[in-house]
Each structure stands twice: as C-alpha cells, then as structure tokens.
C-alpha cells in the first residue's frame, strides 16, 4: 500500500464512501475500481487487492451493492458491482458525516470550509 501518509483507520473509514461514490457513477469491477481510485487520488491512494475485495464483499453482504458476472468482448469474465438503493442512502448519510468532519477540521485549522 503506497499510502504512507494515511493511517490505517482513516483508510478503513474512507474506503466505504470512496467505493460507494465510484459505484454510484457507474457499475465497475475490482481491477477498475483500484485503477480509478488511484487516478482520482493522483496515485496517493493505491488499494491493495487483499483490502479491496473483502471490503466489496462486506458491502455486498450489507446490501449496499450488488454483484453480477459479465463477460467482456474479449471473453474475460469479470465480477461487476453496482450500487443499490440502500447503498445510495448509506452514501448520502456518509456524505453528510464527512461534510461535518470537513467543516470542523477547516474551522480548527483556520481555513475557509469549502462546502458545508
């Protein structure tokens, strides 16, 4: 994991809203999710496979996302994930919490809160 600056707890807490946000844009599979997170974070967050898949499976168990197998044109079968209505609700409540935290941090560090 090349996330030297992030604590394990922070990664653990943020992985769920990050994954749910990505999947709310479009359905995706593990490899692509890791790639997209890497791109969006400017390579600052690089999920390890051993971390991502168990999180995906946990989210599926909770009913936030659904999985299905889909074959690509080249014939490769991949397991896709897509967000459910329950997941969307969870995401919006996560967004609210993160906004509150963001607001508090910005205030404490004497910065202008971006969006609250």
């Amino acid at each position: 994991m090349s996330m030297e600056n992030f604590s394990k707890e922070l990664i653990g807490a943020s992985s769920i809203p990050i994954i749910l946000s990505l999947l709310s844009r479009q359905e995706s599979y593990g490899y692509e999710i890791i790639k997209n997170i890497k791109e969006i974070s400017n390579e600052k967050i690089d999920f390890k496979e051993g971390t991502l898949y168990p999180v995906l499976h946990k989210l599926e168990k909770k009913g936030y996302i659904e999985s299905f197998w889909k074959e690509s044109d080249a014939g490769r079968k991949r397991k896709y994930y897509k967000i459910t209505d329950k997941g969307k609700k969870q995401l919006s409540s996560e967004q609210q919490s993160w906004n509150v935290i963001n607001h508090i941090m910005s205030k404490l560090w004497n910065q202008q809160p971006k969006t609250a």
Binding site: Y31, E49, G50, Y53, P54, R76, R78
Partner: protein, 228 residues
Amino acid sequence: MESTAKNSLEQNIKAWRKSFQSKSEITEDNLKELEAHLLDEIDALTEKGLSEEEAFLVAKYRIGDKEELSKEFKKVNKFNYWLDKLTPYLIGAIVFTLVSKFYSSISILSYFLVHSIELYVPIIVPSLIIYSSLILALFYGFKYYKKVKLKLKIWTWALILLAIPVFNLLILVLSTKVLQPQDYAEISKTNAILTWIGYASTVILGFFLLLAKYKKRKLQENQFHQID
C-alpha cells in the same frame, strides 16, 4: 515459441489458482474474481512492455500471497471458514451414528439367516461375512467412483445415507415381531464383537488416511516452494 509462452502462462496461473484452493476462507467465486484481476493486471503490464513471464510475477506479487489474502478474506467469509472446518466432523458424526446402528442390523440379519436355513454356526460367522463384504464393496465402490470420476450430487449422497436408517428400521420392526427375548443374548454378543471390529478398523483406516493426507500436503508444499 509463441505457443510455449502461452502454455507456460496458463500453467503458472493454474499453479497460482491451486495454491489458493487449500484455503477455505477464499471461496471458488473469490478465486475466479481474483483470477480475472490477475489477468487484467498481466494485460496492463505486458502493454507496458513486460514479458508475459515478468508480468505474471509482478501481478502475482501485487495481488499478494495466500496467507495475506486469506487473512483479509477470513473477515468476510467467516461462516464459510467455520463451516469448512466443521464439515468433516459433522460428516464423521453422521456416518459414525449411522454405522454404529448398522452393526445391530447385521447381527439380526445373520441371526435370521442362520435360523431360516438351519445353519449350525454361531451367528458371528455370517455377520463377519456380511460385514467384510460390505467393507470390500465400499472399498471397490470407492475405487470405481474415483476411476470413472463420477460426481454424485449432494442429494444422492443424502439418499444413500438415508437408506441405512431405513434399512435399520425395517430390520428392527421385523425382529421385534419374530424374535423371542432369549434370542437377543446371542445377537447382542455378536453386536458387541462387530462394534469392536468396527472401532478398530475405523481407527486403522483413519490413521492411514491421515498419513496419506499429511504426505500429500508435504508434497504440495514442496511444489509451491519450487514455483515461488
């Protein structure tokens, strides 16, 4: 040249898959998912100019080894993990219960046999013949089963197992109608002998099976060291 390279990649992936199959916390579905991931990673790396061999090694390293992965997967597949751990014990308990009931059926059956055709031998003799022919039938049945690679569905197994208590019940009902109290003494003696033979053979068989499993595991471990 091209085809050998492809073959070796396929073989590498096969060996990689196999190294995970001993881990019950990683399900078949998880493994398929990881394999698709591995292939995607290999594609991306070969596009960057790595050879297939190199790409495989890097991709394998990035995905992580089985100990690392299974530790993470265990957290979500807990039920699966414990079920897999407990299954052999459950099967053992069921088979043991059924088989121990089976001895009494064999002794009663041989009692009928001896008395109906008026054989003047102790009933332990036909009991042992029935018992050992059943063991032989089981042994050869299993060998045949392995040879033809016949895969029985789970309900077929359940049906076979169910046949034993049904058979036992039939014999029991029959015996209570026909047998006199004094007949039971001989039957229960035979029963006890059969039970002890059963215990001994289970222990011996179990010992050899465990030994075979241990040897096989050692062999597999050595193979994986070579691949690594």
